[in-house]
């Protein structure tokens, strides 16, 4: 599927890693049923990771969970076949997940997460061998240089609550652009454009590389799929790929389905009865302040789109509020563009699906912001008050708070749902639009039985 690299430098000091970088497709005869079975096994791993992430699991738990998933699903009776299964399943899923931006994004994050957990389990020598395989030209920082920045490196470790580095620890000096997540968390010392990363942080560097290679490869695969493969393989692979992709995608909620269309006059009632706390809060703030900052407009705006508010109504809705604060002209000028944009009328159309819980929980609202997930972002006091306002009281509040303290925000939201609706929600809450549609279903059946 892509050119084989001329030299593979897998072996450094005789250390062989079993973690493939998927640079080239395996040139193996694959039986069709294996093709499908392997892919399904890998998909179970990726799905498992995705679910756990959206449940807000901590990084330490995640690593163990991912490795366990891997061990359970990716075994093969013949030891020699394990690595082939790994490669084949990866390449099959590339075909399945290359075809839209949303699919690519999902696949990219899950494969990168998986790679990261597996990389961390490798021995240090194997890790360095993999670095070499990525052609990362970074040499370890020499000891005179280490001494010159040691004081700063100590500060960084202490700020992270880790033990101080010693002269035996290996550091690499890399352009800061290559380790964005370490920069974002201030987990490295940066000087004149270079970040000093510890051996234990190399995973971040390598994962960034892995991600960017895979991202490019997916675009290429997509092109090849549409231009040649789909047609050439129409009797063989194509049906399998189609089946794999349709049966294993969660709903994306970008098109409202069952409860198509809510109208403006009902919106306040519906917000009270069926919005999850994150949206209810934004909605109320908007009514109160007649304004929301960008993050809030996006989170609420896309949710409302998913709920079935039509573009014209959406414009009227936002305008009614914003114009009280900034005037109708400024609204038309500065804000209406963004709303049309969400509905795909202006600008290029990408990524305008309503946000999932995972995305909302991982957002970082700042001063003046009201978006994000309240279970995560509210102080205890504020959260209690908000729950009371939703009609959650007594023991239920305590139960919700317990989940929050353990950082299980979606479980907290699920418990809230159950308390508010007086019925169980076995699937758990994964998406604010799912909260909404589950709530509407319950309300409708209640109305019917009452009638």
């Amino acid at each position: 599927m892509e050119p084989v690299r001329s030299q593979r430098k897998l072996i450094v000091n005789d250390v062989v890693s079993t973690l493939p970088l998927y640079r080239s497709a395996p040139a193996l005869e694959v039986r069709l049923e294996e093709f499908e079975l392997f892919a399904l096994d890998r998909l179970r791993v990726l799905k498992g990771i995705s679910d756990a992430l959206s449940r807000g699991r901590k990084p330490e738990e995640m690593e163990k969970l991912a490795i366990d998933l891997w061990k359970t699903n990716m075994r093969h009776p013949q030891a020699s076949e394990v690595i082939n299964k790994d490669k084949i399943s990866h390449f099959v899923l590339r075909l399945v997940y290359c075809r839209t931006e949303d699919l690519r994004k999902w696949f990219l994050s899950m494969e990168t997460a998986l790679f990261r957990y597996r990389f961390k389990r490798e021995k240090q020598e194997a890790q360095r061998a993999l670095m070499a395989e990525f052609d990362l030209p970074y040499k370890a920082v020499s000891s005179p240089e280490f001494e010159s920045v040691k004081e700063k490196l100590v500060l960084v470790s202490r700020s992270l609550g880790q033990s101080s580095p010693t002269a035996d620890d290996i550091f690499f000096k890399v352009p800061f652009e290559e380790v964005p997540e370490l920069v974002a968390g201030r987990r490295v010392f940066i000087s004149k454009g270079h970040a000093y990363i510890a051996m234990s942080q190399v995973v971040s560097l390598v994962a960034t590389q892995f991600r960017s290679h895979l991202s490019k490869a997916l675009i290429l695969t997509n092109r090849k799929w549409t231009t040649t493969i789909a047609e050439q393989e129409k009797d063989r692979l194509t049906p399998i790929v189609e089946a794999l992709s349709s049966s294993y995608l969660g709903p994306d909620y970008s098109q409202p389905k069952e409860f198509a269309q809510i109208s403006l006059k009902d919106i306040d009632d519906v917000a009270k009865s069926s919005f999850p706390l994150c949206m209810r809060h934004l909605f109320e703030k908007l009514r109160e302040d007649h304004h929301l900052k960008h993050g809030g407009r996006m989170q609420l705006g896309l949710f409302l789109k998913g709920v079935g508010l039509k573009l014209d109504d959406a414009l009227a809705f936002w305008k009614a509020e914003f114009s009280r604060k900034v005037g109708a002209e400024r609204f038309d000028k500065e804000y209406s563009y963004g709303i049309r944009h969400n509905y795909g009328r202006e600008g290029k159309r990408t990524d305008y699906t309503p946000y999932s819980c995972q995305k909302i929980i991982s957002s970082t609202p700042g001063v003046g912001d009201h978006h994000g997930c309240p279970y995560r972002n509210f102080s205890e006091e504020n959260l209690r008050a908000a729950l009371n306002k939703m009609g959650v009281t007594g023991r239920a509040v305590g139960d919700v708070m317990d989940k929050v303290r353990n950082r299980h925000y979606q479980l907290a939201c699920t418990l809230t749902f159950e308390a508010v609706h007086g019925s169980s929600c076995d699937a758990g809450i994964n998406h604010p639009n799912q909260y909404f549609s589950d709530s509407q279903k319950i309300m409708q059946s209640k109305n019917q039985s009452a009638a």
């Binding site: 940066i190 000087s191 900052k293 001063v367």
Partner: protein, 456 residues
């Protein structure tokens, strides 16, 4: 004075009918007549063009002649019409369009893969051909985000008592961009009303991905709270990250104790000091109640020579740092308080995405009439937002010169001259020099490459 009031008397806009001093006093405020004169005689088109071309307007073989024309400009017109995706092939096209449309605001967007005014022609092909490819790394800092820590004004207003908050932001961010991230072509601009903008223009800054931009913005972020949780700054480690530690010792502490403590009278009333006591994690309330006790006794020690804010701050510091109280989390509390009251607050969204628009330097703010002039980060303490050239000053100064034959640099005889000269000598010239060097080296690399490829 609003635009309406002004325009009544503005038939002869060079003369203010109320001020009888001299014939060349121009009324305050902003209107489109003034703006026309400004765009006609003063706006530095050539400098903006040179800047936005990054050397690609030259003759060098690696020059990308389409570079400037792929840049998005957007105009806000007087009648509230908003024109996005404007683009220009040359300086004179830009100049003519600005003069003709007389926008109250000019925004600058990214450089796209294709000419943004022709984006629809590419829209059909599907593959996202129309996408931003380069953009300065930008920061927007707005005083209205500091409303919980300034007591002199709120919202859109600024005064010399709160302006130091912006000075702090310039110092902290500028130092880090240079020393930590290694950038050198950095332009700071007064936003014309209540904040500052920053443009980082190094080649490698312009080519950052959204993810990398977000990483830098997050690096600068210390506010983990939001509107709905109490604590706004919280440090849990045993030390501060070197960047924060440096900012704290070199800038924040000094400004807090020397300026803001007094000018904002941070401890002067019960409401104000309660806000600070609230930030002390003190489960059995021993510290906070002791301090509160001291402060509520109405100055028994009538030693009122010392400022009450200073006295209370010293008491608080002594309490927290005496080591008597071994409560978890107290260690960083003094730092947390200082950070809360001083540390820069960025509008994160602006910095994170390549396609965010930012107002061009040298625009005139329509509400204040002030010109968005550059700020020298090395002398930012001297910058006075209430003393920047305004549209009416500039017109007066033009009038004093009287009617002259058209000269090239009319701005030279106005107070805008200083700003434009600073823009050129401290920002534009060094920038263009390094653009040239970058082109030279990429050309050499190409030559080398083509040589190598012959060697088979």
């Amino acid at each position: 004075m609003t635009g309406d009031e002004v325009s009544k008397g503005s038939d002869d806009m060079m003369i203010d009918e109320y001020e009888q001093k001299q014939g060349n006093v121009v009324p305050d405020g902003f209107n489109s007549h003034y703006l026309k004169v400004y765009y006609g005689k003063l706006f530095p088109y050539a400098d903006i063009f040179k800047w936005m071309s990054y050397g690609n307007d030259g003759k060098h073989p690696v020059c990308d002649q389409s570079y400037f024309s792929r840049r998005e400009f957007s105009f806000t017109l007087d009648n509230e019409v908003y024109l996005r995706f404007q683009s220009f092939n040359s300086m004179s096209e830009l100049e003519n369009s600005v003069k003709e449309k007389c926008p109250v605001k000019i925004d600058i967007g990214p450089v796209y893969s294709v000419d943004p005014s022709k984006r629809h022609a590419y829209a059909q092909s599907g593959d996202n051909v129309f996408t931003p490819v380069e953009r300065e790394l930008i920061f927007d800092i707005d005083m209205s985000d500091y409303d919980d820590v300034r007591y002199c004004c709120s919202g859109a207003d600024v005064c010399l008592e709160c302006w130091p908050l912006m000075t702090i932001a310039v110092k902290v961010i500028d130092t880090s961009l240079r020393d930590d991230f290694g950038f050198s072509h950095i332009l700071w601009v007064y936003s014309g009303r209540r904040g500052v903008h920053c443009w980082v223009c190094d080649g490698k800054a312009r080519r950052l991905t959204n993810e990398q931009r977000a990483a830098i913005a997050d690096y600068f972020r210390v506010y983990k709270g939001n509107e709905n949780s109490h604590k706004k700054v919280s440090f849990t480690g045993l030390a501060l990250h070197p960047f924060l530690a440096r900012s704290y010792t070199e800038v924040l502490m000094d400004f807090f104790e020397r300026k803001l403590l007094l000018s904002q009278e941070i401890f002067s009333t019960e409401e104000r000091y309660e806000k600070i006591l609230d930030m002390i994690p003190d489960p059995d309330q021993s510290i906070t109640s002791e301090l509160r006790g001291k402060w509520q006794e109405k100055r028994r020690t009538a030693n009122s020579k010392d400022d009450i804010n200073v006295v209370r701050w010293e008491q608080l510091k002594n309490m927290l740092q005496s080591g008597k109280h071994k409560v978890q989390g107290l260690r960083r509390c003094v730092e947390e308080i200082v950070f809360s009251f001083t540390y820069p607050r960025l509008d994160m969204e602006v910095s994170k995405h390549m396609n965010h628009l930012l107002k061009a330097p040298f625009c005139v703010h329509p509400k204040t009439g002030r010109v968005c002039v550059p700020i020298d980060p090395n002398r930012c303490e001297e910058f006075d937002p209430t003393a920047v050239p305004t549209l009416s000053n500039l017109l007066e100064q033009l009038n004093i010169g009287g009617l002259r034959a058209e000269v090239d640099n009319e701005w030279d005889r106005t107070s805008l001259g200083k700003s434009i000269r600073f823009f050129r000598s401290s920002f534009l010239q060094p920038l263009l020099k390094s653009c040239k060097e970058e082109m030279e080296s990429s050309y050499n690399a190409k030559l080398q490459q083509s040589k190598n490829s012959f060697s088979w």
